[in-house]
Symmetry: none
DNA sequence: CCGATATGAATGAACG
DNA sequence: CGTTCATTCATATCGG
């Protein structure tokens, strides 16, 4: 079937106008985008509907949709889906690893490779996302590691490292 | 002169990070290369100098230069330039798209693909870049903020909001 | 006030 | 070269 293999998306990196102009005095000016409940609802709907990796076109459409409930940029939508995918995946992998650690169950032949062509991952299967709300992290496999410390006073001196050529042109941006 | 020029670039300021990345001696086993500020400066300089696609030879040279400030491989340099180009490109396109809504600007002087040569980007302007901290680059077409939580009177038709199919598994919030 | 967690944003690395 | 994944950083929110 002619899937819109447009695959021309990837639109992140927009200007994150932080604390620019608070349209409303009730707005505590957030530094980063905070999706409103309605927006989250929409996004999750789409994601759970199977569209885990919307093409550029769809991304824009989604953004326009979300915009009705609050300012949002294409990049935000893009990031949201990316993080969502990544997160879901990681969760599953962790859970799997958790189980395999004791069962060593072989049940994942490559996961069909992410780079295959998974544009619309069919969530018809029982997997893809976890319907469970917030299950307590498995106390067995998960371990919090507070890796603090690491104060390093590095940095050498920037000698004459700019001895290339002085063209110094600021092309973009 | 603190003129809010459009001097922008993805300045990621994460100096006060905890687990710093000391190179020699105490390597906290870093999975991927994290360029140090000095290295970034060098790379950025070169890039802004017009050399957006350094040949192998130059890559090696650059790598050796960077090595003075921390471990780095040729591949890292190579990847860095690739990502840099890609990102710059995307930025422009996004900005352009932003403007197209007003000016319908048609311009993309597709730099001739020099095959595998150096390819000095010609989109050079006359300006020196300044390592400015994180700041709002070019605020153009972007959102602002919004509030209105809860039910919103959809003054703009929500179209087929749930045309994707609402399976909503509602997390827990 | 401080620490842990959740999540948006950035970017290095790799795939096609 | 364009797109996607994985890892990391930064900030918000919560809980003590």
């Amino acid at each position: 079937m002619p899937l819109p293999t447009d695959t021309v998306m990837e639109d992140r990196v927009q200007d994150s106008n932080i604390r620019s102009h608070d349209t409303e005095r009730n707005e505590p000016v957030r530094s980063r985008w905070t999706p409103k409940p309605e927006q989250i609802l929409i996004l999750e709907s789409i994601f759970n509907s199977g569209m885990v990796n919307p093409p550029k076109d769809e991304t824009v459409r989604i953004r326009k949709l979300l915009e009705k409930f609050g300012s949002v940029g294409d990049a935000n939508v893009f990031y949201w889906f990316q993080n969502r995918r990544s997160r879901s995946r990681r969760r599953q992998r962790q859970i799997q690893a958790c189980l395999t650690g004791e069962q060593q169950q072989e049940a994942q032949p490559r996961t069909s490779t992410t780079g295959g062509a998974v544009l619309y991952e069919s969530s018809s299967s029982a997997l893809g996302f976890l319907p469970s709300p917030h299950f307590a992290p498995s106390p067995n496999c998960l371990f919090g590691s507070s890796s603090s410390s690491g104060v390093v006073g590095n940095h050498g001196h920037v000698d004459d490292l700019l001895s290339f050529s002085g063209q110094m042109t600021l092309p973009e941006n």
